[in-house]
Amino acid sequence: MYILKRFLTMIVTIWVITTLTFIIMHSIPGDPFASDADVLPEEVVENMREKYNLDQPLPVQYLLYLKNLATLDLGPSIESKTRDVNTLIADGFPASALLGIQALVIAIVFGLILGIVAALNHNGLLDYLSMGVAIIGISVPSFILAPLLIKYFAVDWGLLPVASWGSWEHTVLPSVALATAPLAIVARFMRSSMLEVMNQDYIKTADAKGVSTIGIVIKHGIRNALIPVISFIGPLVAFLLTGTFVIEKIFAIPGIGKYFVDSIFNRDFPVILGTTIFFSAILIVTLFIVDISYRLVDPRIKLSSKGE
């Protein structure tokens, strides 16, 4: 019942996002054939407009799009004459997904470890060190970090390839560049959450039972400290999704992000809509997973949702 309700909400959310994107997209000036209009004869351009339904009034275009979307058909691309949007996404997705997932794992795993270590060394050297690193991580944007990483690790020391995609080595620098800021945020979040948890009475109860410090941290500390951090994973994924646009561009990675950025410049309407919807769907599914894992970690939430 709960799952069904969530599923319907997800559909509605996608529809709202589609509608908003459609409206915004058509309200920015520009035209997919603007650059072709000088070279191509008027009639050809007219034909092209007809082909992509651009000659129809906007409400009709909108309804036609929704109709196709219902069958999961995202339509043809205007720019790429050979591939439709579905193929474009299917082609770009593996690279984007690998980049995104690697960055997510790096951000969460190292962020949590850094946060826990900092909390357990509260006001100690390790605490200041890791929080110092975190502050730098948060304040240096990825489009500055990425060229720096390339300069040192690829150009000066020759440890990793400069750009492009292929072997696993190619994924290291972009994943690190993408993960750094979210990693730092996770670390700070986890640190404060852990500090708060370690001050709770039930930690003292565990201490009074004779549980060792490590036992207390693992069995009583981390799980409770994770609860507020989990809620941050939704925004984190959103952050990574948008981060891929920049990173894919810098490292010349053939992912969806690159198509998305290009499509906006070209006013390639179906690609803009299609990739936006695709990204939103990923985010919405992530939020759903986050919600479920919340319930797994915190037994108190199960009870409150029984009434639903």
Binding site: Q200, D201, Y202, K204, T205, A206, D207, A208, K209, G210, V211, S212, K219, H220, R223, N224, I227, V297, D298, P299, R300, L303
Partner: protein
């Protein structure tokens, strides 16, 4: 009687931004085997700090034990390493804390929270431990033990949670249970139930209990002996009968005067609050800490901390009025009080 725990000349202080708080300034008391000792005293008198010191639960970084001996089973617990102390905690000495609402881990099944001590301190098998946990839950008066075993704390009421915490404390059959205000957070009827349970368990299992409380009613109910703390010092100690019938220290008089009494005619006697506030523990007075609030204070009281006077072998009091040089103030004082 055999002594189980003896605390001698304990001094504990805390480093704070405002300076050093001398929370415990020379505490002496003992707990006999199979006995309930109550520590009473107003807020901030150092009761919890004393309990935490015994259990090695003081925050390491900010606290300092400048002197003292805590003898338990012929060993000084203060010399124990962290590892050695972990073996004692939860098995030989255990703690029942004040707030049942926050003292259980919200994301751990209550059965597992009781099981945790058994796992650490016994070599029972998993099956044996489970049946022991169920037995403990029954012992502390929790119905439907099988079902409760796998519930989380939020599914239990405050009273039930305190019973679970008692089960946690009892798990390894400790010789000493330290209960720091075990009923303060509960409502009155539940308080009585929990006290009855503690008293009953103590008698059946023959453990010793060190109970900390503000409430002299609780003392009368469960304890055999009592230590009255004021500003980090035990000012008077003795058997409960002795202290209630024949209190010696003016602070104890004050405490006894502040119990609400029901009179014959049904009206409540007026409470006599102790006037003034306890001394500043950042710079405690060199004399008797109660002198500033004491109606009978003499010059010497401000100058010098009195030694213990033994009124009986077990009844000790730290008051200059007991000095032979003092002007028979006792009679004057008692007369003045019961006017």
């Amino acid at each position: 009687m055999e002594r189980l725990l003896e605390v001698e000349d304990l001094h504990v202080s805390f480093k704070t931004y405002g300076g050093e708080v001398q929370a415990v300034r020379g505490v002496n008391f003992h707990v006999n085997k199979g006995e309930v000792l109550a520590i009473v005293g107003e807020s901030g008198s150092g009761k919890s700090v004393t309990a935490k010191t015994i259990m090695g639960l003081l925050p390491k970084k900010v606290s300092r034990i400048s002197s003292g001996v805590v003898t338990f089973e012929e060993d000084d617990l203060l010399t124990y390493s962290k590892k050695e102390m972990q073996k004692v905690k939860g098995s030989k000495i255990s703690l029942i804390s004040q707030d049942p609402m926050t003292s259980l881990n919200p994301t751990m099944k209550i059965g597992h929270q009781i099981d945790e001590s058994l796992k650490l301190h016994t070599d029972l098998s998993k099956m044996e431990r489970k049946s022991r946990v169920l037995e403990l839950l029954t012992l502390v008066g929790i119905p439907n033990v099988e079902e409760r075993y796998s519930q989380y704390p939020h599914e239990l009421s405050g009273g039930m949670r305190q019973r679970v915490l008692i089960a946690v404390a009892l798990a390894c059959e400790p010789q000493l249970i330290i209960a720091d205000e075990p009923t303060t957070a509960l409502d009155v009827t539940i308080q009585a139930q929990i006290l009855d349970l503690l008293k009953d368990l103590q008698q059946r299992l023959d453990t010793s209990i060190l109970i900390i409380t503000h409430d002299l009613g609780v003392v009368a109910e469960v304890a055999q002996r009592v230590a009255v703390m004021y500003a980090g010092v035990v000012v008077e100690s003795g058997s409960v009968e002795e202290i209630f019938a024949n209190p010696n220290h003016p602070y104890t008089w004050g405490l006894l005067g502040s119990i609400p009494k029901q009179r014959q005619d049904g009206a409540r006697e007026r409470l006599i609050p102790i006037e003034g506030t306890p001394p500043d523990l950042f710079s405690p007075p060199k004399g008797c800490p109660f002198a500033a609030r004491c109606e009978y204070a003499m010059d010497i009281c401000v100058e010098k901390m009195p030694d213990s006077t033994y009124l009986t072998t077990d009844h000790a009091s730290k008051c200059w009025l007991n000095d032979s040089r003092a002007k028979k103030p006792k009679e004057v004082a008692m007369a003045g009080r019961s006017r």
